[in-house]
Point group: none
Chain length 232, copies 2
DNA sequence: TTTTATGTTAATCTTTGGTTAATGTATTTT
DNA sequence: AAAATACATTAACCAAAGATTAACATAAAA
């Protein structure tokens, strides 16, 4: 549950700051945006596990923002914060794809319980895309669930979570460019100098493993990303 | 969604009847019980897709009933109806394993939306067959009802409830990953540092028992969970 | 040729898991 | 009621696994 990324969009700066601090104390990684516009910009730039949106905001209200977020991402859970308890609002929220509704003023402990319940629920749902976990990479076979990379006549190689996720993503883009930025935001959940270097380290590790099959190779596309090349 | 069975436990006969009718008009198959005692009797006699429990009831309140229901069945969704909005009550409800909370007076349309959302969610969850209680684990045989683990030429080993549940869950995932989080939420009903360590202690105990058969092993998948490996 | 991006190794830091034993807690036996 | 028991949780310590960072080397682009 630790380190889950939350996008908090709240126009009241005091309340926003307090709530952010409270969530961070409880081991969430919180990004605060002070209006709908900024919220959507931040949403596009990163990958979040949960969005908490204030309904009443100037320029762009919570519902509009939620609809925009849903266009980009059908999965991410959304919680609305609202002072209103009007039925139409609640129904409107559910229609836009809300996961829960919280009336202000609310108890922080209740919010925490709800957040945990929602994140846990989402985690246990079957995701159609991410569900594939068996890959053939040249003579190799990758099981990304058990994190095993097998090669005929060899003991299976155990992969670390990062090694495994990276190789899986390369395999999904087989022979095609896997953008650097994509791997960083999806796997490292952050895109900066250090995570970028970290990724390079992992590329080196994978190359070492993949040496067993001379027809498999990870190529760099300068400034763009990497390419898992599988010859013939 | 049609014909789903709902157990409605509500002591106010007027309100109960109205709600029952409303739900039946909306194609649910509703059984009404007028107190906790009767509710539990009816629950044991049939299989329901959802329970809607009033919190405030004479003799046996909704929480107590929910706990009893949870003992028999960890899966069935529970919605509480309550006039109170006290924080402790909400938290208590979630701890007992509630799926949602509704404050009276509530809007019937909202209730309907919630019911549908919850039933749909539960339907999409994968549930391993929890009724099975006989397992073959290599040369071992586990009876999870009597909590006996037998090995040819040995006195049967008596297992404690936790030992047994954990081994059973591992057996259900035989040779596949049993996610740590799943065992914690299902068996320990909580997922935190201490329950996690407690589980590790139980894994150690099970490993000790399983040593008798060198083809049976509990492997760890770092950060993910455990795997009951049964060789050939 | 100067800057920027990548390759690689090793050191350091962090998180997770294994194990034993002590402590807590409820139930049963005496 | 006290003692015994069975079981579960917590603590403590160590080991293993994994991730990041630093440092230096090399390659590609501006």
């Amino acid at each position: 549950m630790e380190g889950k990324k939350i996008l908090l969009v709240e126009d009241d700066p005091n309340f926003g700051a307090v709530l952010k601090d409270y969530l961070m104390i409880n081991d969430f990684d919180v990004t605060l945006a002070k209006n709908g516009m900024e919220g959507f910009e931040k949403f596009k730039k990163d990958t979040y596990d949960l969005c908490i949106l204030d309904v009443m905001m100037p320029y762009k209200d919570g519902y509009t923002l939620a609809r925009e977020i849903r266009e980009k991402n059908q999965e991410v859970p959304i919680i609305f914060l609202t002072a209103k308890t009007l039925k139409e609002d609640v129904l409107k929220g559910y229609k836009v794809g809300a996961d829960d509704y919280l009336n202000k003023p609310f108890d922080s402990e209740v919010l925490l319980v709800k957040i945990k319940a929602i994140i846990q629920r989402k985690a246990s749902e079957v995701k159609p895309d991410t569900n594939q976990f068996e890959f053939t990479i040249g003579k190799f076979h990758l099981n990304s669930k058990l994190r095993f990379l097998t090669f005929p006549g060899q003991e299976p190689i155990k992969l670390s979570p990062k090694e495994c996720e990276l190789l899986k993503m390369l395999a999904l883009f087989e022979n095609d460019l896997m953008p650097r930025e994509l791997a960083l935001t999806k796997i490292w959940r952050d895109d900066n100098y250090f995570t970028s270097r970290s990724m390079d380290v992992y590329i080196a590790k994978l190359r070492k493993f993949l040496k067993l099959d001379e027809n498999v190779e990870i190529l760099n596309v300068h400034g763009e990303g990497f390419r898992l090349l599988i010859k013939q």
